[in-house]
Assembly symmetry: C2
Homo-oligomer: 576 residues x 2
């Protein structure tokens, strides 16, 4: 049985940066070749970054991607990587339109191209807008091993290229992925790869992107799976990593080029000779699985760090209210960027409590972030007095004066403003547009309030375990939440209890249950009606909200979009 | 040849309002029946409103739509419309998923259902996310005439249901549409209907929605076309209308139920007897075609009026700077809502010119809108002094204090804030986020600056022709544009000349030309580079911008979306 050493390069490209991404490919391919790899696989669209959205429709960008690929092929040969077989994703385009494509590179040439067949068009994906599906199955013989290629969604739908490769006959499948992190998704992924490996009748080497890209976080988790369901190797999540593994493969000597499953099959022989026998390395140890909180925290840190850095910022500024949301965002920012890159601002108004200031200051002391106090009473009074504002209008002016303050500091000093709202607030519209919703990035926009508390406790416990100072003041975790926009105000004046609210939201938003089904699930009619109307009316605010890392299926954004009109009105739509 | 009187009800439903929309259907069907119609056709998804976006994925909403349809069928019979055949669009759902469907109703029953086959998934459309395509062709014999049904995109793509109906054999095709207004689209539409009528071998009765729905405006323009390309009747644009026409049709006596073009064909006989001969009415006269400016102005007025009213507002507030953008938005608002519903606010800073105040006041005098002055110097000074802001940070605070002022008045008095930015500004990011970009609706967000001037002159000319006071002060049209955020500032300090800028933008944004192609088109390299980098960097601001009426193909919104990361950075992506 022929041997092959494969290397999966779990890397972090940046969308649109063809030059920088080519550098990433060269750097990691060199590492793989230095490690003796015969096959190097890099993720889906690593050369363009992923997802490229409307850039895919730009003919000039596709042309540049193709040119960058040719140049990269030559460069890899020039730097001594020409003898390896390198698989990577890029944007292609032919007469039918743009393609989400993979290339195999050898000795300075592109020796095969594959176009993704199954195009996801749900949730965060819109690939029916952006790509034309492929219907060709190139199979390449490399050191006697028949090698097939697929891309991401190709393994998430039944039938198609994997079934085709299984029927045509291959000895190894490379699966290039841009598969975003989603809470509790990881086990599904490994199980799925095992099922597809069985269908292909060959091991699958699954290589995924890592890092944050706009609202998405890719968690890596690259792996190699045998057709019998044995996990051969697995990379850690949320870090760049080179997973190197020696495989002992069937050389099936497959020759069929009959069309299968609607695909045209082509076979190219690069090398029929097996690699001379060598002593295999032991497989790397699989990393320990992360706990739910550790995984979510890592996703949020990764998303925040990459959003800031990929957008060319070096520091962030945020309002510190002493409450739990801003405390958790500050702790995430410190973990992502270091305390020296984080600027916290306490902005007390005449309604702010003493503990709001002391808890904010405590956060700064515990973490070492930069801290300043900017009272907003004078600005608020200028608006309220001149315009004669009362009630909700007066409350909102306070939040907006804080927004103007943070944006002023951002414009003056170059920090990115972080918005500190959580998913529960965002869902029900419990925020001030152009006020606390101000910011370039909203790290916990997809984290429900109850999970914010859970993460805070988990992060503090981690610190204790490591003998460090817990970053979040205990009082920020335990005190009853309040917006402090009028005397004695509490969140519970306007909202149901968060435990209950998050349960209804989860069923309505994530579970897509309607009014009747929610009543059947045991929730009280008044509660359900109240929550549904709030959610549907909040759509306008959500559309104006800054981006933030997605950790769930329905994270509010393009993947959950109600018509504005139907949602601003209390339409019957909400209550059916 | 059998006669039929058909009525196309070009109506304006509201997304999500099943009850209100059912009322609209009943009201207009009664009018049609009173006019003696044998067939009444209403637009695509009239019962749910269109587009319903993620509501389509909600099982409970589809169930409610089906229930509303059954109830509507009974109600139509109860109010004396049971003898007519009524075609209308609704949201259906079966085991395969949600359907963009049409129903035929007769005598209190749904007698046929059709599901849209071609699902548009480009520009403003995302129907691959929302619907499962249909593959059935129900044909109904009504007074001896064989009647087929299609929906909107079904006629915009080659092959499919129209070809199927043509082969199976029909005498009349009803085409239900939710076809948005797009500048210069109308002629394409009539030509297309003519081509499809020829393919079907039967007249097509094309009925379209009218009115604004969130960012879309439906212009109506319903029409009836003979297979020989003769336009038999046409409804006016931008108004609700009942188009009634007597037809003398072939009774082909078609009987084939062979599958065609991948469709299952079914035939149902409701009535084989032709209508007793009657004296036909003369066809209504076709309306005069609108000029380009008249059409765009009507679209903007319609979009603004319906956004305000469908969202439950009665009045709007906007900043009046004395400049052309706010003047045109104010004139649109007065045309849409009446002067008494429009509140203009002059918000001078220490850098504001005298003419900025006098031109704003002039606008109010000419139109009769409510006018007040709110100087912002005190608020600006409170921020600038306390935070130590200079340069761009100081400029932005002025725009943001205006935003807070308008939102304060909105919250206090219940007006909707209108943002006054134009498409050119939005394209290049020449605006202050949370400042002049503040608002619930941005009426001219899809109107390039040069067209803003053209519309202003056109609107004033129209007033002169009608012996009315031109709404826009001449000085607002002729003076050089300035943001007035620092002494002596002019737009041309930061931007290329607008004539030139709009030409580059049109080619880059609408024409999708790349850097090289723009140079080949004769633009200077420095200009092209400058504009492209501005556009790509402005994506973040555009995502935070309020919705506004779309009048072109690439109006910034879901239909033109660059990845934020690649666009905030000056990536190579922009320059290829």
């Amino acid at each position: 049985m022929p041997q092959l050493r494969i290397a999966l390069a779990q890397v972090n490209p940046c969308v649109g940066d063809l030059t920088g991404n080519a550098d990433v490919v060269v750097e990691w391919t060199r590492k793989a070749v230095q490690a003796g790899a015969h096959v190097v696989a890099l993720p889906e669209m690593v050369l363009t970054g992923y997802p490229v959205e409307d850039l895919s429709l730009r003919e000039s960008f596709a042309k540049a991607s193709r040119a960058a690929l040719d140049e990269l092929a030559e460069r890899l040969a020039d730097v001594g990587c020409g003898d390896a077989l390198v698989a990577l994703g890029y944007l292609d385009r032919d007469e039918a339109g743009p393609r989400n494509a993979a290339a195999l590179i050898h000795k300075g040439q592109v020796v095969a191209r594959y176009a993704k067949h199954h195009l996801p068009n749900y949730g965060v994906f819109d690939e029916f807008r952006y790509f034309v599906p492929g219907d060709k199955l190139p199979i390449v013989r490399w050191h006697g091993v028949d090698l097939g290629l697929v891309i991401c969604e190709d393994i998430w739908q039944d039938g198609g290229p994997i079934a085709g490769l299984g029927q045509a006959g291959v000895d190894l499948v490379l699966c290039l992925n841009g598969s975003p992190y989603e809470r509790n998704k990881d086990d599904t992924r490994a199980q799925l790869v095992a099922r597809r490996a069985a269908e292909a009748g060959a091991p699958i080497a699954y290589v995924n992107l890592v890092g944050g890209q706009d609202e998405l976080v890719f968690d890596g988790d690259s792996l190699v799976m045998n057709p019998d369901g044995t996990l051969l190797a697995r990379a850690p999540q949320f870090v760049e990593h080179l997973l190197v593994l020696d495989l002992d493969l069937n050389a099936g000597g497959h020759t069929s080029v009959e069309p299968v499953e609607g695909f045209e099959v082509t076979r190219t022989v690069i090398s029929a000779e097996p690699v001379p026998a060598y002593e295999p390395q032991p497989a790397p140890e699989a990393p320990d699985a992360l706990s739910d909180c550790a995984e979510v925290w890592s996703a949020l840190v990764t998303g925040l760090r990459d959003y800031v850095h990929k957008n060319g910022f070096r520091s962030v500024v945020l309002g510190l209210s002493g409450g739990i949301d801003s405390a958790v965002v500050a702790a995430l920012a410190v973990d992502a960027l270091g305390a020296d890159a984080v600027y916290g601002v306490s902005m007390p108004s005449s309604y702010s409590s003493d503990h709001s200031r002391s808890d904010a200051a405590g956060m700064a002391e515990r973490t070492g972030l930069h801290f300043q106090t900017q009272p907003i009473a004078a600005m608020v009074e200028a608006f309220v007095g001149q315009l004669g504002l009362t009630g909700l209008a007066e409350e909102n002016v306070q939040a907006r004066c804080r927004g103007v303050t943070l944006m002023g500091l951002s414009n003056q000093h170059g920090h990115l403003v972080l918005a500190t709202g959580n998913k529960t607030e965002l869902a029900v519209g419990y925020s001030t547009i152009y006020g606390d919703a101000v910011g370039g990035f909203a790290p916990i926009k997809d984290v429900p309030k109850t999970l914010v508390w859970e993460l805070a406790r988990w992060r503090n416990d981690q610190a204790e375990l490591n003998g460090e100072v817990p970053p979040i003041p205990e009082n920020s975790i335990t005190k009853p939440p309040s917006a402090e926009l009028r005397p004695g105000q509490l969140d519970t004046d306007s909202l149901p209890d968060y435990e209950l609210l998050d349960k209804v939201l989860d069923q309505y938003v994530e579970g897509d249950l309607g009014y009747t089904a929610l009543l059947a699930a045991g929730f009280a009619p008044e509660l359900v009606e109240r929550v549904l109307v709030m959610v549907d009316r909040a759509e306008y605010k959500r559309r104006q909200y800054p981006p933030g890392t997605k950790i769930t299926l329905k994270a509010f954004g393009r993947d959950r979009r109600l018509p504005i009109t139907s949602s601003w009105r209390e339409q019957s739509a909400a209550l059916v």
